[in-house]
Amino acid sequence: MKAFDLTQEPIDTEAWRGRLFDKTCGGYAAFEGWVRDHNEGHEVIRLEYEVYDALARSEGLKILSEAVERFGVTRAACVHRYGGLELGDVAVWVGVAAAHRDEAFKACRYIIDEIKVRLPIWKKEHYVSGDSGWVNCERCAAHAHDHDEKPAPARAEG
């Protein structure tokens, strides 16, 4: 089994959980990231994730290895979606099996935190308003992107 994967298909979290089972382990911790319907005041209708495949795979495996080494857990795995996602979809799943719960929780937290800052994956949100935008990247273009903003109406002279 691959410990880290990227997929366009819905994530089968039960199958991933099953692959972590190990009779030496007394604890399992998992995290699921879901697509929610709002972000920073915008109503979100769907998402797209784009991924730099080769680097995301090598970095994902590196993060899992770090978690195993740092916290002494028995198994760790992670899968991240890319492509188009709908509200409620599981965007990312992290699972850790360990002898005891404490290291399982810590390793799980470490993995998702590192995934968020290190994996070369980008999220484009599509809003109810019809607008869309790359998250964390408002200034990626030199020119303000088109918002179809109308100029504010002139104030009536009082």
């Binding site: 990231g33 994730y49 784009e50 730099y52 080769a54 680097l55 995301a56 090598s58 970095e59 991240h80 965007a91 990312v92 998702i112 995934i115 968020k116 800052v117 290190r118 994996l119 070369p120 994956i121 980008w122 999220k123 484009k124 790359w134 998250v135 964390n136 990247c137 200034r139 990626c140 273009a141 030199a142 020119h143």
Partner: protein, 80 residues
């Protein structure tokens, strides 16, 4: 002159209007190349907000470029 293959993702793909391009450059390192491409494509982010990958590995900005290198400038990520 070196021939460098540059791949664009996400906001940079939108902004440049392309997935990739091959550029001929005198730039010595990724920092120099980014300065050229930033001007050519009106990219709004300074290099301090980016990471860079050379041949599918994260790289320092002053790593010497070699003919045929594949470069990706990585805008702020948003996984998870």
């Amino acid at each position: 002159m070196k021939r460098i293959h540059v791949q664009y993702f996400a906001a940079f793909r939108d902004q440049t209007g392309r997935d990739e391009e091959t550029v001929e450059t005198r730039a010595q390192d990724p920092a120099g190349l980014y300065a050229e491409l930033q001007a050519a494509h009106s990219l709004g982010l300074g290099a301090d907000r980016l990471k860079v990958a050379v041949n599918d590995e994260f790289s320092a900005w002053d790593r010497p470029l070699k003919d045929g290198d594949r470069i990706v400038f990585i805008p702020p990520v948003a996984g998870g």
